[in-house]
Structure formats: C-alpha cells, structure tokens
C-alpha cells in the first residue's frame, strides 16, 4: 500500500483513501486531500520533510507523518 510520503518528485498519483485512524485525518480531508483527487509531489524542504503537494489548484505543505495517512491507488 503506497502512501503520499513515498512519491518521487514530479510524480503524480490519485488518492484512493485517507486513513481515518490518523490524528490529522480530518484536517487532511478538509484541506482537500480526498479520494479521487490527483496529487503531485512538487517540493520538499532540504530536510526532506515537510513535503509540498500540488492539489486542487494550490500547493499544500504537510509533514511526512501526515502524508502517511494519504493512501494512493
């Protein structure tokens, strides 16, 4: 099962599910990471964490830990 934290730079993928056992899952959903949406890993900080994803017309930075609850298809 691949999650958003395992994407390579420039790689796109479609979200299949959000892990609702994760403490931040609701905010992740609310900010627009919903199943069916396409995301692209655009950037990361020099420390490889947080990661910046292109999503729904904008860029969202989230920690790797949070990207782990975004399950890709």
């Amino acid at each position: 099962m691949k999650t958003a934290s395992e994407l390579h730079f420039g790689e796109r993928a479609i979200i299949s599910d959000i892990d609702n056992s994760h403490p931040s899952f609701r905010r992740i959903l609310e900010i627009g990471f919903t199943p069916g949406q396409e995301i692209e890993l655009v950037n990361s900080s020099s420390f490889n964490d947080p990661l910046a994803f292109a999503l729904r017309g904008t860029l969202i930075a989230i920690r790797k830990h949070e990207a782990d609850c975004i399950i890709l298809s």
């Binding site: 609701r26 900010i31 950037n43 900080s45 490889n48 947080p50 910046a52 017309g57 904008t58």
Partner: protein, 676 residues
C-alpha cells in the same frame, strides 16, 4: 465598546479560508473606527470597523481569522468558530460574507457549504477571478448562486469592481423586520464523520464542474489547445483550472530548491534580522534623545523637588522606555508583513520545520524567535501565527533567551572591560560567542522544557504542520502598513501602561526614603552636587536595602550589593544596568559615560573582601547572567498578556533567573579556580 452604540449597528462578519482575499475585501469596505478586538481571555484577534459611509449602510464589519472548516482543529480555531455564532463583545452577526478564491474553488467551497448548511445568512464573494481568467476559465456566478441558494458576487481585489453590486445585495438583508424571524444557526459540523465530509466534497465537485466554464468571448482556439494539453498531461481533469499557478511553481524551483532553498532562506532572514538593527537604530536614537531632552527640560522647569524627579525620571523616562522600541516593532512587522504577503513566509516555515519539530517547536516558531533578537515584545506578538497552542506557548517561553537589542549596551560595557582598547576585534568575537551561546542555550532549554511539557507548558495538542503555500504575488503595501501600525498600537496600549507603572515603581525604590540627602557640597560644582545627591540617594534607597538584603546571594558570585542594586534596576529594562552602575559608582562625566564607568569599575573594591570588585571572572559571570536572566518587565507584561495568565511569565522568571544565577556561579567559581 459599549452596548448602546452597538444596538443601532448591524454586524457583518467576513469569513473565509486563509488566503481567500478576505482582508483585501475588508479593506475595501472599511471606513472609520478601525480597531482590533480580542476574544476575551484569548489571543485570537479581529479587525473591526464601520462600513465606509459612501455605501450608505450603518453596519460594523468584522474580519475574522481564516478558517478551513467549521470543525475546529485547535483551541484558537474553536474560538474563531464560536465567535461566528456569537462574539462576546460584538454579538452575533446579522450577515456573513464568505470569500472564495475561485482558483481553488473546490477547497474553498467547503466552508461556504458548511456555513449555509448551518443556517447562517451568507453572501458569497468570489475573489481572484483574474487568476482563473488567465487559465481561460470563469465562474458562472448565477449558476453557483442557484446551486448554493445564496447571493454570489465577483469582486476584483485590485480595482474594487463588484463592490457596489455586493453592497446592493447586502442592503436588503439588513432590514430590521428581516431579523425577527431569523433562523438561529446551529453547530452541525463538529467532529464531522469521514463519510459526511466525503459526501460534502463530492457534492462540491459536482458544483465545481457545473459552474466553471471556459471564457466565451476569449480566443477559443487557445483555450482548446490549453485544454487538450492538460487533458493529455492529466486525463483525470475535467477542466484546466486545477494546476497551481505556473509562475509560483517556477519561483519555487529556486526558493524551495532542495539544494539552495536553505541558503535563500538564511539570506532573507539575515537581511530581516540585520535591518531591524540598522534601519531602526537612527529612529531609536531619535526617540531616546527626544525623551532625554524632555526629561532634562522638565526637571529644569520644575526645579529640584521630588515631584520634578518623579515626572522627569519616573514618568517621562518610563514613557521613553516604552516608546524606544516602537521603531523596531514597526520595522519588524513591516518586513514580516511584506514577506507574508508575498507568500514567502509560509515557505520559510516549511523549510525550517523539521529541525525545530525535533525540540517541540514548529516551522512557524522561526520568525518569532528571529524577532526576539530585536526585542522580545514584538517577537511574542509574532508567535500568534502558530496555531498549535503548545508550540506557541513553548515558543513564547524561550523568546526571552534570544539576545535582544537591550542587552547590547550591557555587553558592550562588559566586553570593553575585558578587551584592551587596541584589540577591538576581540570584542567582536566575544559578542559573536555571546550570540551563539544564547541561541544554543535557548534551543537546549526548549528541548528540556518540551520534555517536561505537562508540568510547564500545560497544554496538550497533537503536533501537526499543514500549511498552504499561497501563490506568489506583489504585496499590498497599504494593508501591510496598516497592520504594522495596528500591531504597534497594540503594543503601546496593552504593554505600555504596565511598563510605565513598573518603571515608576523602580523609580520609587531607587528614590525613597532618603529623597533629599544631606551631603557636603564644599568645593563642588553644581553639576557635581546633583550627581553626588543622586548617588547618595540611591545608596540609601529601598533598592539599596534590597541590594544589601540580597548581598548573601551576590557574595558567592564575587559581587557586592552595588552590582545587586544595578541588577534589580535592570529588571525594569536591561539597558538600565549601565546607567545604574554609573549612578552607583558616582560617575559624573556624562559626555564619555562608558570610559568613565570603566575607569570607576577598575578602581572599585568589593566592600566585603577588600579585593577588586570587577575581575575577569565576575565580568564573565555577569555576561552569563545577562544571557539567561529574565529581567525585562515589559517582556513579563507581554508574556502575561499573550499566554493569558501569570503562570508562564512567573515560570519564566523563576526558571531563567535560576539558570542565570547557577550558570553565573559555576562560571565565576571555575574561572577563580583556574586562577584568573
């Protein structure tokens, strides 16, 4: 604000996600009476003012903090959401204006849908239409109005086009009779389930597909081409409005580059950091000189009486000590405001989040910590941007350890004592060592405090970092200036009175009971007499009693009550240490204060031991003390205000002063032992 003036006015609250153009709209509507109100007992703040009179509406508008959904994610968000239902000072809004950035309409519709479903009376304003138009699309506002069942108006943030239409939509909503059978909104979205959220989003996506249409009168072929291109790149897209801003992606290739990103970050922050010194310095000197002049004129005018001294040395100098930091606060907020408005600040927070998260801080802690090198007061105000309460309190907690500019005069004096005049570069190195120690010290303290989080910070919040990186844009200078001035006003109104009262208290302690001491004036000039009186008064004052009382504490450091008094006086503000030493060692040459203090310091003898008072160990011990000690009363006052109670400022005083004392003791003992 009193109730009577409120009853006549309607209240319109602006609500929207962060970066949705809410504040721009607020500025276009706003007229007189601009002010910020606090939600009682918290640091959540709102800008409010009357609607511009030319629009002919008697209403207050309230700019609420940006929220993503009606389901709160932090204590501050919960307050923001609750205040939509009922703001304790402003009442419940008669109408909400919800802003939506159309270039990311699917994300921003979430909040509007929730507001409508909760029963609020809402008008939706669409912003950033030009960005969508560049991609060849527009929103069909009539169709969106049908879908949502509320008024939808496009407003251009730059030109203000659409404002008139918005006003004509607002007017009929604000009739007195329309308020009587009003539906009261209810809280429908707390702990919303995943299924409900997904249903909401799929409805939003359906609406999005319906309302976003290609611009019909543009060059059709180009759009078709662009569309085809996007379809090839990304077959899942039904239309081409889903890519982030291309220019932003290009700039980010540099500013967020994995190799150069940190370098750019440090260059930008170094510029910010140094400019709060060199840009602010001339203004600070001006303020200082002005109050010095006022104080001298006042004491000349009022003669040699206690009330003249109260006014000149207590009230005027106290006011001066409040206002002297104003230039730094203004410049700091200006630069940070510009960085935030361009969109860079969010990226800076992202770049530095990882190392800071290791010690319980957040990427957003960086800017407040940096500001702390200018002055802890604006730094603590800047910590408001940290949404996580625990991380915000921890950031505020360690800010006093940053080497603020008020410590500089103290370090300058102490370093000058240590280094020979012909080797000035040694002083530079010493200062660098002091700054680096203060950074390391604060990080270590943060890590330790974080370990004892439950006992000290007493706020549990699961740490997260979810931050939108807004598209780069040219900053709106007018908004930035307005917000900087507002922050500066806040500092004066809220921290000012406390600082003033405490300054007067310190003045009282150093002035009474022996306010007009008798001294032998034979053979002294008038100026010398005045200085002698001052010195005699201080050495017989309550502060001196206090100094003698803490003598047992000072002795282990190899210091006597005179340094103790200066340290007590430095609690008003650190730089007072220098002038207080001057007073206590009867230094009279005001033209060359530093070299005459140095001269007096070299001659000073410890009254207990008979040995020289200022030695290399005691001087280094004093420097160590100043690195850690929580001495600034203004900081205590702001810390109390920003953390909402006395708990954290008290802990700061106790913990930092203890660390300062213990480390200073260890330093002095060690240096004495190795034979300095």
């Amino acid at each position: 604000m009193n109730k009577a003036s409120l009853e006549k006015l309607y209240l319109i609250t602006l609500v929207g996600p962060p970066n949705s153009g809410k504040t721009t709209l607020f500025n276009q509507l706003s007229g007189k009476n601009f002010k910020t109100v606090n939600y009682p007992g918290s640091t959540v703040e709102y800008s409010t003012c009357k609607i511009q009179s030319k629009f002919g509406i008697q209403a207050d508008i309230l700019d609420s903090p940006g929220i993503i959904s009606l389901n709160p994610n932090s204590p501050d968000e919960e307050i923001s959401i609750n205040s939509l239902y009922n703001h304790p000072e402003m009442g419940s809004p008669n109408l909400l204006i919800a802003t939506i950035d159309v270039s990311q309409i699917s994300r921003h519709l979430l909040l509007s849908k929730q507001l409508l479903a909760s029963g609020f009376d809402v008008i939706v304003v669409l912003t950033m239409n030009d960005i969508l138009a560049k991609r060849g699309y527009e929103v069909d506002e009539n169709r969106l109005a049908e879908e949502l069942g509320c008024g939808v108006i496009k407003v251009d943030g730059r030109t203000g086009k659409g404002i008139e239409k918005l006003i004509s939509c607002v007017k009929p909503k604000l009739k007195p009779d329309s308020l009587e059978n009003k539906n009261y909104p209810y809280k429908a979205f707390e702990n919303i389930s995943k299924e409900k959220l997904l249903t909401l989003y799929s409805d939003i996506e359906r609406i999005e597909r319906n309302v976003i249409v290609p611009i019909s009168n543009g060059s059709q072929t180009n759009i078709k081409k662009a569309n085809d291109k996007l379809q090839i790149l990304n077959p899942s897209l039904k239309y081409g409005s889903n890519r982030p801003d291309e220019r932003t992606l290009k700039i980010d290739r540099w500013l967020l580059s994995r190799r150069w990103g940190l370098l750019f970050f440090f260059i930008i922050m170094a510029f910010t950091f140094t400019s709060i010194f060199w840009l602010a310095n001339p203004f600070m000197e001006l303020v200082d000189e002005f109050f010095g002049y006022l104080s001298t004129s006042a004491s000349e005018l009022l003669g040699n009486t206690w009330y003249s001294d109260l006014i000149a040395d207590g009230i005027i100098s106290g006011t001066g000590s409040v206002l002297v930091f104003l230039p730094q606060i203004l410049i700091l907020f200006l630069i940070l405001g510009l960085l935030e408005d361009t969109g860079y600040l969010a990226r800076g927070a992202m770049l530095i989040d990882k190392p800071l998260s290791k010690i319980g801080l957040n990427g957003k802690s960086f800017v407040p910590m940096l500001s702390g090198f200018a002055c802890a007061i604006p730094a603590m105000l800047a910590a408001r941007t940290i949404s996580n309460k625990r991380e915000r309190l921890l950031t505020i907690f360690i800010i006093p350890l940053m080497s603020c500019s008020a410590r500089l005069p103290v370090y300058a004096l102490l370093i000058a004592f240590l280094t020979p005049a012909d080797k000035a570069w040694l002083g530079g190195i010493a200062l660098a060592v002091i700054y680096i120690s203060s950074i390391i010290g604060s990080l270590v303290v943060a890590a330790i405090i974080n370990k004892f989080n439950k006992k000290i910070i007493n706020a549990v919040d699961s740490s997260s970092f979810i931050l939108e990186l807004p598209a780069y844009r040219v900053p709106k200078i007018k908004n930035v200036i307005r917000n900087s001035i507002e922050s500066a006003k806040q500092y004066i109104y809220k921290a000012g009175p406390i600082i003033l009262v405490l300054s007067i208290a310190i003045w009282f302690l150093t002035y009474f009971p022996n306010h007009s001491p008798e001294i032998n004036t034979n053979g002294l000039t008038q100026e010398e007499t005045v200085q002698m009186v001052k010195a005699e008064r201080l050495s017989t004052s309550y502060a001196a009693d206090l100094g003698k009382f803490i003598q047992p504490v000072m002795s282990p450091l190899g210091m006597d009550w005179r340094i103790g008094v200066s340290l007590i006086a430095a609690f008003a503000a650190r730089e007072v240490f220098v002038s207080s030493l001057a007073m206590i060692f009867k230094v009279t040459d005001e033209n060359n204060l530093q070299s005459s203090i140095l001269f007096a310091m070299k001659d000073a003898v410890n009254e207990e031991t008979g040995k020289p008072l200022f030695t290399v160990p005691t001087i280094i011990g004093l420097i160590v003390f100043f690195i850690f000690a929580m001495q600034c009363l203004s900081t205590v006052a702001v810390s109390k205000k920003e953390t909402g109670g006395w708990r954290i400022p008290m802990l700061q005083i106790i913990i930092f002063t203890t660390i300062a004392y213990v480390f200073s003791f260890i330093t002095v003992s060690f240096l004495n032992l190795v034979g300095f």
